[in-house]
């Protein structure tokens, strides 16, 4: 760091403003004893005993297994499919091609009307006469066991003619690059420009202009439990039940109903235990529809479990970007403008139903996000490639936008000789400036950048780290400190998908029921994939209703049993699902008090609920246990006044309607050591200060953030889907695709600022993705900070020893 000492000394010594404390919840939750507490998740002993219920654990009578013959090449015209030999193999029930499935399943086109001009081609469950990416399903072999299906797969004979392919996003729009869908005219899926005006003037009057090119390697989610489902069509009832490892059961219910022309009420989607999702499992895959189609055609349950090798070519990929970025600043350190030109390469089809245009769209919306500059220009081209389709994966554009923004900010700091933390402090939107609108037009309710930066400085003991870094540098040991200030969109309203015409619900509901025994059951439309949804809903219910957590049962993941809702994505589970649970719990409280008032012959306003009993509101004296109230309400209505009916089951819905999104903010810091001879990077430590509004369970949210950070580190250092010139994935196995393992990960210290959102009573914002949003920016900045005295920099992720050695000049 070249910063003159005075910069950071001055600010460390300045009196720190008090950290804002989360406002207390409104009555009757002012004494909430569960919300905000680090309570271990209930009901997970079964997971710790290997007694979960993941899709592959389920077996249904007559269940068959499907495997897919997938295109081995990037682009080909299929000339023939010989199935007879495969059909003769032991255990085989059927062999289907794309045309068979197209007889009962409509094709889809993944566009949304609010992404102006987005275009894509119709896609079928399996390719008809052309396969457009390596891994696209073409033939389905169904047998009694997976092994038998794989045996038979070897006897499926497909002939094809290779077609020229588009595999380089930088040349996808060149006139001599093959156009994947000629009827679309070119390989452009979506483009967008944004110009606030005043950009050229800002760059002209700037004292410092820095340009850099940022590259992001395509990578993927690698959920430990691969994608899987059991489609069970019962011809006798016309009912389709799909057991799905999925994040949005109602969305899938709607899609299956519409693609197969089934009544919506005939389709039931059940999500039990999900072995990790991260966005990979929120999309509607061709093989999802294929499996359902096969169940309908065969009239028996069909199970599909992707194996790991097919996961790598069939799970959605994400984050393949090439971005030219510029930043303008004054010599006093005021950032004047950002500009980006982003090219991103997706698959040959926009992914259904959320489209492959959203990630790039978010890069445009979020670049420069934390800062108060007014001038911003962005250009985005989303281009089709003959590679695996891409779509939303944890963070969705944030990691890219943040890395570009924070990389440019560090470059300015270096050029100005200013401390990078100081530069950020000078330019983040002030904590008292909200509500505010960012340069890109994003609406920000309330953020706390300044408070987070201050907290980070003490949390990491920045001066001590700087001193340590300087001392070691003198010994030829190169350590780096990197920051990333970030914003993250959470709790989306209908602006995200609904306005574009997608039947993806932006609202959620919870039904709370008092059982005769005095327990409380809550059915919620947001589900669990391990993040602790059920736990926080239990905590909220316990406080809302006044019952012990051990008396709360949460039911999720069944379209037949829960209210209608959106599910898990865009970090909305706690904020939106939680609010619905809170409102339902409070409504149930009101109704319990009504019944209590009638039973006890007292004014309900003189009563309260605590620990599973009706109590005197003033003295706290227990008057009537819930179990007794339940007994009377359910079994002895004859003892209640005529005209009074207990309603001990209530439903409330919630949609966030104040803003398009409720943004959160945070800052991360990374401390690394770069071996300047080998280019190997050691992650020494990582910190995150996160403001996700009211924290419902700090223990759960903290490890969520850590997991998200580690996932971000994966993209920054290790993970890339490597393609050769022919469009073939060359590292599609766990041995060659490197995911972060425990040995290389640092300890991660987390702290919170809590600025509740006023868009709900609960005040909780989302927290699931911020870690992934900021980690790559922080880590890459740290590496470049370490390399700066050696006059080297790497702005291409993943940052590998190869790239560092090149930058250092050790290799050509």
């Amino acid at each position: 760091m070249n910063a003159p000492e005075s910069y950071f000394l001055r600010h460390v010594e300045a009196e720190a403003r008090p950290t804002p404390v989360a406002a207390p919840l409104a009555a009757p939750l002012q004494d909430a004893s569960h919300i905000g507490q680090a309570i271990p998740r209930p009901n997970i002993e079964r997971l710790a005993q290997g007694r979960g219920q993941y899709v592959d654990d389920l077996e249904l009578p007559r269940m068959a297994h499907v495997v897919f013959w997938r295109s081995p090449v990037a682009h080909c015209h299929i000339t023939s499919i010989e199935r007879d030999f495969a059909r003769m193999m032991p255990g085989v029930l059927a062999v289907y091609d794309g045309k068979d499935l197209a007889t009962i399943c409509k094709p889809w086109v993944a566009t949304l009307s609010h992404l102006a001009g987005i275009k894509s081609a119709p896609q079928y469950p399996m390719a008809l006469d052309r396969a457009c990416w390596q891994g696209e399903p073409v033939v389905a072999v169904v047998a009694k066991t997976r092994a038998e299906a794989e045996d038979a797969l070897q006897y499926v004979q497909v002939t094809w003619e290779d077609l020229p392919s588009a595999v380089d996003m930088k040349t996808a729009l060149h006139p001599d690059t093959p156009v994947i869908h000629p009827e679309l005219g070119d390989n452009l899926c979506f483009s967008r420009t944004l110009d606030t005006g005043g950009v050229d003037e800002a760059f002209a009057r700037a004292d410092v202009v820095v340009e850099a090119t940022f590259d992001f390697g395509r990578h993927t989610g690698v959920t430990l439990e691969t994608r899987c489902q059991i489609a069970d069509y019962s011809p006798a009832s016309g009912q389709l039940t799909v057991y799905h490892s999925q994040q949005a059961p109602h969305m899938m219910q709607d899609l299956y109903a519409r693609q197969f022309d089934l009544p919506e009420s005939s389709v039931r989607v059940i999500c039990k235990d999900v072995g990790g999702s991260f966005g990979i499992k929120v999309h509607a895959y061709p093989d999802d529809f294929a499996t359902v189609a096969i169940s309908i055609l065969l009239k028996r349950p069909v199970k599909f479990v992707a194996d790991r090798l097919e996961s790598f070519t069939s799970d959605i990929h994400a984050r393949e970007h090439h971005i030219k970025g510029r930043i303008a600043a004054t010599s006093a350190g005021e950032i004047l403008a950002f500009e980006i030109d982003d090219t991103t390469g997706i698959g040959p089809y926009s992914m259904f139903p959320r489209t492959s245009g959203i990630e790039g769209n978010q890069v445009v919306n979020l670049t420069g996000g934390p800062y108060k500059h007014k001038a911003y220009r962005a250009k985005l081209n989303v281009v089709f490639l003959n590679k695996t389709p891409t779509c939303q994966y944890r963070g969705v554009g944030h990691p890219v936008a943040c890395a570009v923004t924070e990389g440019l900010v560090d470059l300015v700091a270096a050029k100005l000789g200013m401390d990078p933390l100081e530069l950020r402090k000078r330019n983040v939107m002030p904590d008292d400036s909200y509500p505010a609108t960012g340069a890109s037009g994003i609406k920000l309710e309330v953020l706390s950048h300044e408070a987070c930066l201050r907290k980070m400085e003490t949390l990491m003991d920045y001066p001590a780290l700087l001193a340590e870094q300087a001392a070691l540098r003198a010994q030829g040991i190169y350590r780096g400190i990197g920051f990333a200030t970030l914003i993250e969109l959470t709790n989306p309203g209908a602006a995200f998908y609904g306005v574009g015409g997608a039947r993806i619900s932006a609202q959620d509901g919870a039904t709370a029921r008092l059982e005769p025994s005095g327990a409380v059951t809550v059915m919620v439309s947001v589900g669990e994939q391990g993040q602790g949804t059920e736990a926080i809903f239990s905590q909220i219910t316990a406080d809302a209703v006044g019952v012990a957590m051990s008396q709360v049962r949460i039911v999720t993941g069944d379209t037949q049993a829960t209210p209608y809702g959106g599910g898990t994505w865009a970090s909305r589970g706690a904020g939106i699902g939680g609010e619905a649970v809170l409102q339902a719990g409070l409504a149930l409280r009101t109704n319990i008090l009504k019944v209590a008032g009638v039973i006890l012959k007292r004014d309900a306003s003189t009563l309260s609920l605590k620990q599973g009993a009706v109590v005197d509101a003033d003295s706290g004296e227990a008057l009537l246990p819930f179990a007794e109230l339940g007994r009377v309400a359910y079994f002895r209505p004859d003892t209640l006044p005529a005209g009074f009916t207990p309603e001990l089951m209530v439903t409330r819905h919630y949609a966030q309607r104040d803003y398009p999104f409720i943004f959160t903010n945070g800052v991360q810091a990374s401390y690394v050591e770069v071996d300047s001879e080998t280019g190997f990077v050691k992650l020494l430590k990582h910190w995150a200060v996160e403001d996700c509004g009211r924290v419902i369970n700090p223990m759960l949210v903290d490890e969520q953030i850590r997991g998200a950070i580690v996932q971000g580190i994966g993209g920054a250092l290790f993970e890339e889907c490597l393609y050769d010139a022919a469009g073939l994935l060359i590292n599609g196995s766990m041995a060659d695709y490197l995911v972060p393992m425990a040995g290389e990960m640092p300890d991660i210290t987390i702290a919170h600022i809590e600025t509740p959102t006023r868009s709900s009573m609960l005040g909780a914002k989302g927290a699931g993705e911020a870690g992934t949003a900021g980690a790559p920016g922080a880590v890459v900045n740290a590496i470049n900070d370490a390399l700066r005295p050696l006059k080297a920099a790497v702005w291409s992720q993943p940052v590998t020893p190869e790239k560092i050695l090149k930058a250092l000049g050790h290799i050509p």
Binding site: L309, D736, L738, P801, H810
Partner: protein
């Protein structure tokens, strides 16, 4: 990914193993630890008709010292070597290398003989055997052969083993008091195959090196030595100049094979760094002696 169908036998005698191998030839595969073979079968990269499991052949087990030789039975597992006091005392290079091999669950099944027979240039044991002047003892129905490690690894995943031969043991001269050893590898993640690794041994008399053996992981299509670099160190005093000289010779001697993310040039650079660091670590122990 389910393996294709095959038959399986678990003979109790080495002689039966040899008979089966001779009888079935190409159609059979020897099952040692299975940590490489079974992954290959799950991915259907290989479709043998018969697996011959050597687990029950007691003759293939055992770690023992006879005279100046450490004998490692072919079916000794990586974990047995990792935790063996005998090995720590008489072949500390192996002890140093053991914890780099994959992860514990793999080490509990994977075998020394299996690793040597596979001859993966990215694996630890073959390079260690080269560095230690090991001898591979093999047997067939035709009799027994003893093959020096230097002559054993002939090509990519190819060894001097005939199709009807089985490794029964490896023999390693026990470490002498005046011997130095160093094992280092660079891997992106703990337990991964090395990007580049070095198993090095030398005899040190005072400050002078002799009998230097530098065995490389991840550099060639086989585990290999770098004789020119060894030559540059033999009979030389161990100091900064001889180290620098040796590194220069090494970098022009080797033509490393790139991997998915590391170029030939990068591996050249890394190999030189590992050599420098190994030799430097010997320098400080010599100084402290």
């Amino acid at each position: 990914m389910k393996a294709p169908a095959f038959s399986y036998l678990r003979p109790r005698q080495l002689h039966e193993v040899l008979k089966l191998l001779a009888e079935h030839g190409d159609e059979a595969r020897l099952l040692a630890g299975g940590q490489t073979l079974l992954a290959t079968l799950n991915m259907r990269l290989s479709e043998p008709a018969l697996l011959i499991d050597m687990q029950a052949v007691s003759e293939l087990k055992g770690l023992s010292i006879a005279g100046q030789t450490l004998r490692i039975g072919a079916m000794v597992t990586h974990t047995e070597i990792e935790t063996s006091d005998l090995v720590a005392q008489h072949a500390p290079l192996l002890t140093a290398a053991a914890s780099h091999i994959a992860h514990r669950a793999i080490r509990n099944m994977g075998t020394f003989g299996g690793s040597i027979a596979y001859g993966d240039p990215a694996a630890e044991w073959p390079a260690c055997l080269l560095a230690l002047s090991g001898v591979i003892v093999v047997r067939s129905l035709r009799g027994e052969r003893r093959i020096a490690a230097d002559d054993f690894f002939t090509g990519l995943y190819t060894t001097d083993l005939a199709p009807d031969e089985v490794i029964v043991a490896c023999e390693i001269p026990v470490a002498q008091a005046n011997q130095k050893m160093s094992f280092t590898e660079l891997a992106r993640r703990h337990g991964d195959y090395a990007v580049v690794g070095l198993a090095a041994t030398a005899t040190m008399l005072g400050n002078k090196m002799s009998n230097v053996r530098l065995a490389w992981i991840g550099v060639g299509s086989t585990p290999m030595r770098s004789p020119q670099a060894e030559q540059a160190l033999n009979d030389q005093p161990l100091n900064a100049q001889s180290v620098a000289q040796a590194v220069e010779v090494l970098r022009s001697e080797i033509a490393p094979l790139p991997d998915l993310t590391h170029s030939e040039a990068a591996k050249r650079q890394l190999a030189g760094v590992l050599l420098k660091r190994a030799l430097t670590s010997w320098m400080s122990t010599v100084e402290n002696a």
